[in-house]
């Protein structure tokens, strides 16, 4: 009985969100919904509206992105190992060549440490049309190299390799490089809707709370960059968020 209590206590403790001040990457701002301790999932998806942005720091190659993140390798947060996918207004090639337009992108960060491998990919050949909705999905395949599929509107475009399951943390919303960027407004926000994650053992998609009794599934306006301009609020609790930055 004591062992059982200890395990339950441990699970609850692991579910608590820790906001630790530290040496933040300079100038990154997030307005997101985040779930932690949502175990064990093998995929996630969201329906995202593609909106325009005025990137305040475009002269220094900044960007604004609406996207989805999933942790991997049984991690409770996305601090060391994750996959992310979405679209970005503004992007930079490895040699510094800067593009002001929109494109889909995805990132695969492999780590026991941080990072052992950070892979960044852009997909400028896929149409990324304004004011349209797109399904963004990341799904675990399995296999000896632990692959995950990257999907836009049901079409598989790429594969993230060497990422063991499971996902225990999922975030959705925006990320940008300037607190002065205009990306949605309170009256006309960006939207992430129909957010859900996939539990393979039950072959079922879940929206919102997946861990009975969990208290860690909520939207937060993450201000790790010190911005008071980042916002995320529930539109439909545990399913959809509105998010915007600046006004």
């Amino acid at each position: 009985m004591r062992l059982r209590q200890a395990i339950v206590s441990g699970v609850i403790a692991c579910g608590v969100i820790l906001v630790v001040p530290g040496t933040a990457q300079a100038g990154l701002y997030h307005g997101i919904a985040r779930w932690e301790g949502a175990y064990p999932n093998k995929g996630c998806k969201a329906y995202i509206m593609i909106k325009d942005a005025t990137v305040a720091d475009s002269s220094s190659k900044g960007w604004a992105a609406e996207e989805m993140w999933t942790s991997t390798n049984d991690k409770h947060d996305t601090g060391t190992t994750w996959i992310e996918s979405g679209y970005t207004k503004g992007w930079e090639e490895a040699d510094g060549t800067y593009h002001t337009g929109r494109t889909f992108f995805w990132v695969n960060c492999i780590s026991p440490g941080y990072p052992d491998g950070y892979y960044e990919h852009y997909l400028p050949t896929i149409t990324c049309a304004l004011n349209t909705w797109v399904w963004v999905k990341i799904m675990y395949d399995g296999g000896t190299t632990n692959t995950w599929g990257i999907y836009y509107d049901g079409t598989r475009w790429a594969t993230a390799n060497h990422q063991p399951p499971n996902s225990e943390s999922i975030s959705m919303g925006f990320e940008t490089t300037s607190s002065q960027t205009q990306f949605g407004t309170s009256k006309s926000p960006n939207k992430c809707t129909n957010m859900a994650f996939y539990r393979a053992s039950e072959d079922k998609w879940y929206s919102g709370l997946v861990q009975p009794g969990a208290t860690t599934n909520h939207a937060i306006a993450d201000t790790d960059g010190g911005s008071s301009n980042a916002h995320a609020t529930w539109n439909t609790k545990y399913t959809s968020i509105d998010n915007w930055i600046h006004h």
């Binding site: 947060d77 492999i110 491998g117 960044e120 990919h121 852009y122 896929i126 990320e175």
Partner: protein
Amino acid sequence: MKKMTRGTAVGASLALLAVIGGLAFVITAAQSTDVTPPPGWVVDKAKAVAEAYGDPHPSSIQWAQLPASEAAPLLGLTPGEAGAEYSRQVVVLVMQGTFEKKKARVPADAAKKGNPKGQWVVVNFDAVTHTGTDSYIGTIPVATTGLGFQEMTKF
């Protein structure tokens, strides 16, 4: 035992010279393949990448032009998928040095740890358009053996 005549000796010498000449040609040809200089635009890209990743003078720079599908594993891609299309040729740069990826796309948790850093950087550029869409930075060593990579003169 037969004595070698003068004519035979001259013939043998000429044959030997021809063999030596042929060998020299083969060696020279092989050497010239090994030292094929990269196109100017590739050198310019390499300099810009090194600068962008914070180490303007990497300890090693290798380059190769190859099908994107063959380069796929170096960049975390899968042959035939986006970025690694079978029909596309790419120039790949593999660098060793002390690198940092600025303006990396990292979630809120990881952002607290700062920018990704590593001793290895791999990037690609389309051989026709010169656009680069895929990159890697990290501590996992990159194996280029058998892919036709050549060392680029340091700058």
